[in-house]
Symmetry: D2
Subunit: 348 residues, 4 copies
């Protein structure tokens, strides 16, 4: 069955797989000390325009969030996140597992509004005594957010400015970063992100890799003995080449961005298909995840033709569901969706 369940339904992008095969027989040092990891890091550094940025590879998104947050926070600090943030709700308490609190603040369509953050930080740091409370020690944002929405350059500048005023790092979860960058509505570049964030990651798992995320420390702020901290969290791969080779492929000949452009293009066509069939969008997402509201009976019918993800209950009769595109989404897939929708939206 045609699947829009997620952007990680298929294996690796063929170019990525090809590079794994081509380099497979080489003897390489372990734990990320191989030449492909180094090459990938160098390509990323050049792309973001920060020569002395430090790039580190990890295997998955939740792991990356937990490692970055727990190694950068001080003992008495927690991480500020939107109530809908991935770290707040869908990581099974991975941040708390490291001993740190996620400090929840309200959100709008998945985004933290600068005014909300400003009020929160001002209140915390201006009052006399908060020693019985967890200190905000980092701000976590996801871009695109869990609802597919994106920050504008102005918003990111404001968030970054706030973080710098209070001297706490801004961390961007970029599990789907490329889809945000390639969105037609985005006015943010990768260089902007590197300039405005203190640490961020470029997701691979959801953008054509089998696994892997590239964390970028932009300001000489990689925690000391980071490899040891990664090791003790069980996150160090013996064959670090697995991620290094994949990122080296993703950042060769613009592959990473091509993948994202393709997925965005597919998502835009998909959006039109929904609109044509009168399916209401739950949210205006300019990226590769589309959230629509389905009548429950129609949802059940549709499930028989294409697969997608349950998101949340809308009301007793309707459900919010997610359709995602990725490198493997084809025109044929969309045609199947179109046809399936036609069947279920016949007046009855």
């Amino acid at each position: 069955m045609v699947s829009f369940e997620s952007d990680y339904i298929a294996g690796a992008h063929p170019e990525v797989l090809k590079r794994l095969a081509e380099t497979n027989m080489e003897s390489l040092p372990g734990y990320g000390a191989d030449k492909y990891s180094e090459s990938a890091k160098e390509k990323i550094r050049e792309l973001i325009g920060v020569k002395d940025a430090v790039v580190e590879f990890l295997a998955g998104g939740t792991q990356t969030n937990a490692v970055v947050i727990s190694t950068m926070l001080s003992d008495y600090e927690g991480v500020v996140a939107a109530e809908t943030g991935h770290v707040s709700s869908h990581e099974a308490g991975a941040i708390e597992y490291t001993g740190h609190e996620v400090l929840l603040i309200p959100q709008k369509q998945g985004r933290i509004e600068p005014a909300v953050l400003s009020a929160y930080l001002e209140s915390f740091f201006s009052d006399e005594n908060h020693e019985h409370m967890t200190f905000p020690g980092m701000v976590y944002i996801s871009h695109p957010t869990e609802y597919g929405t994106i920050y504008t350059k102005k918003e990111l500048e404001m968030l970054s400015g706030l973080c710098r005023r209070y001297d706490i790092p801004l961390f961007m979860d970029g599990a789907r970063l490329g889809y945000g960058l390639m969105s037609r509505e985005s006015d943010l570049t990768l260089q902007d992100i590197a300039r405005l964030c203190d640490v961020f990651y470029i997701g691979g798992t959801k953008v054509g890799a089998l696994c892997g995320e590239a964390v970028v420390f932009t300001r000489g702020n990689r925690p000391a003995h980071f490899m040891t901290s990664v090791k003790r969290r069980g996150a160090l791969l013996a064959k670090g080449r697995l991620i290094g080779v994949q990122f080296d492929a993703l950042f060769t000949d613009d592959l990473y961005f091509d993948i994202c452009r393709h997925a965005i293009s597919m998502a835009e066509r998909m959006k039109k298909i929904f609109i044509t069939h009168g399916i209401p969008l739950f949210i205006q997402s300019p990226t590769n995840q589309q959230f629509v509201i389905l009548r429950n009976d129609r949802m059940e019918q549709l499930k028989k033709k294409v697969s997608f993800s349950f998101w949340e209950k809308f009301d007793d009769d309707h459900t919010v569901v997610r359709f995602a595109t990725g490198w493997s989404t084809t025109e044929e897939d969309l045609a199947v969706l179109n046809e399936a929708l036609e069947e279920i939206t016949v007046p009855y």
Copy 2:
């Protein structure tokens, strides 16, 4: 340069890579719910002869040790391990990171002797009051050990009997399990291990996979909601297929065991080469890791020809080093080693 640094210097065994490529375009559910993961689990269950064993995949050895140990121990318990155990010394405190103590006991060539374990457990559980001490809640052994040595069936039966007498699980770290099983000196089968251990894992990373370990819970003892516990430790791969497909390949047509037999055969020839050149063995290892004692000046010479791993200082003039074989080790590699040794062992 020819490398004997470890058994994870190369990529995946070609058959494993082939299966990844063949299945790459398929749409599959994430998080290990794919059919290849299920197929691999079924093959392992059949092989070990425990129909209701539960198999779970994780990415690497340290991660597996930390997940298994921390989810199976009670709050007041620690894990008993040899002083030389991987969890004791080379995982950067990964077990302690989960909040649990590693209770060190003496070892012999990497092995825990049944008499030593017996004395330890008897002393702990027979005395009146140990409430100010960490309770031994699991026994961890590695097989082969960190020194390449293996347990006999009789020893494993004794260790298993002790664990069952005190009602604590026996956990076998099988990062290199196949090399132990295929050793000519081994009288243990995989079925024996499944019968005698309460939980063990079959290592993939060091036996031909890009990454991946298969944990086997043999007695209905997988911790409840294990996936959630894995997720919160950052150890759940979105594309679980990556490991499932690899293990499915490893356990098709005896590949896993062929790989190990090859590596053992190469190790045996290597051992002869060392003996021929008068290089003393540090330990009598019947598996794929060989530890030899090199004079420091010769070690420096040898380094220019082949690569290997520093293990430990022997005395001021000598060093213990490790040579490992794997699926990618060839006769040509051994010939290079032989030649290199000839050069350095010319009397001078």
Copy 3:
């Protein structure tokens, strides 16, 4: 200066101190194995009417919350609490320090409404798959709440019923339990609480002791080897008698309840004084903590005469402050407050 800052401004109630002095020279076993600890436990068991309840002493409220919650939760579980719960906001992340998430739900005047809890639990447990989320494994309520409000018997029965339906324990933080029980508005008895909660504690620190809280496990549910778990959290006092003797005194001749009745009586007079002076109550609290809204300029004036606690900003010109009574509050203290308020509420 007369202080209404908290209910822990003074030392121990004189009767408590007297017992400490009387028993001071006796040789007693350590770690809570002394006869006074046993006597106090027995008195509590009788009072609550649960013969086989298990009582344990700990030193303070945050410690008790962390120990109870972290020893009773499973690895994949978190504790449900009101956004205003002490564990949610004023314990500096003590629960998260143990590796567990606090699952926040909305509150009303500090209370969790049964309907809100019901909706939350139903949603979590009825939907297909929540394995990427922290499981609710306990419900935490404080009684009286952080706003001095109390649950009715009916509410507590409903909360208890919900917890039992989903088989998760209900934990009552009773740091100020006696003030709730002695409130004129309360229809709950200590026996009700023991019957409806799975675990709760009777606070000593805020009710006349120098330190100490008595945790009551009502249903054979004390975690195994609890003393060891307490020890490893650094919460085991060598001279356990310190808490045992104090609780033995508090539960002799109704002292605990006399203390609370006195404080409630003082709080009621205080409330009248506020009303008489036209000072608006922020909340209708029937217990020993009173929250009032002060104009900022008047608050500054008042500070010069009596001390109290900042609670939260009300608006730009007003602040919510807390006045607490305790065993040491006297009529003279209230007279000073009355006089001080007269001065500042003169029309100006």
Copy 4:
């Protein structure tokens, strides 16, 4: 029965209790911000001769060890301790509970020998790559040790020098510090300790207080927002005065040292009694804990007259037991012991 079980069998020294009573009715701020805590800290600073030392109070020894070690270590570090160290063996894994490893090294009569520490640190820091191992980030010593032995000034200077060479703090567990200082064999002063250690604590619980330990950070090295870190570990007492007043009393008129001198004097007489009766000393302890070897049958007889602590099995027929003295030990107690020994050492 006369008890020599420990140095915490009695309540508080009468002078300490008297001060608690005298200050009991005063209204004081909570959480250690009271004037008695401040006074006690000032007295300690003067005594140790470090004007800008920072003193903090905690409730007990294990708690203090866990708080100090876990707040001072970096993520990738563990604490080096003797195999017999209190943190290694009798704290039920309290250090591991904080996520950090205790790095065990051999000991002699409870002491870490400078040469052993030197070899350990040199080996760790000189070799190329230890990134898969826990970094030694602190050295923990107890003084007196768990066997009652003490360090000489020269030894402490050497340990301190090593720590400074490798830039890791030296932490002294001084649960019984006074007994070490007052030992006739000691050539160490409190000023020496403050100069040579980076952090240490002066134990109160075992030296006349009901509870309480005074941590001294000697070099501007108190971790930032220490109170918040203490709070989140459940170690912050609301009525901080409880410890402040006691330490203020202990450090008034030399009380702390008088208590220790008395206990040492009693221990010396006790040692003579043992020698007179031909009871072999297990170790030559110059402090208030005496370890002797008893024949098992005689041990059983003796138990009926006086109480003491089981320490460890010596051989099948003998046991090592501990007798401790404290502020409450009297000449009469020793007379009872003498008489009891006479009965059991009658030739039979």
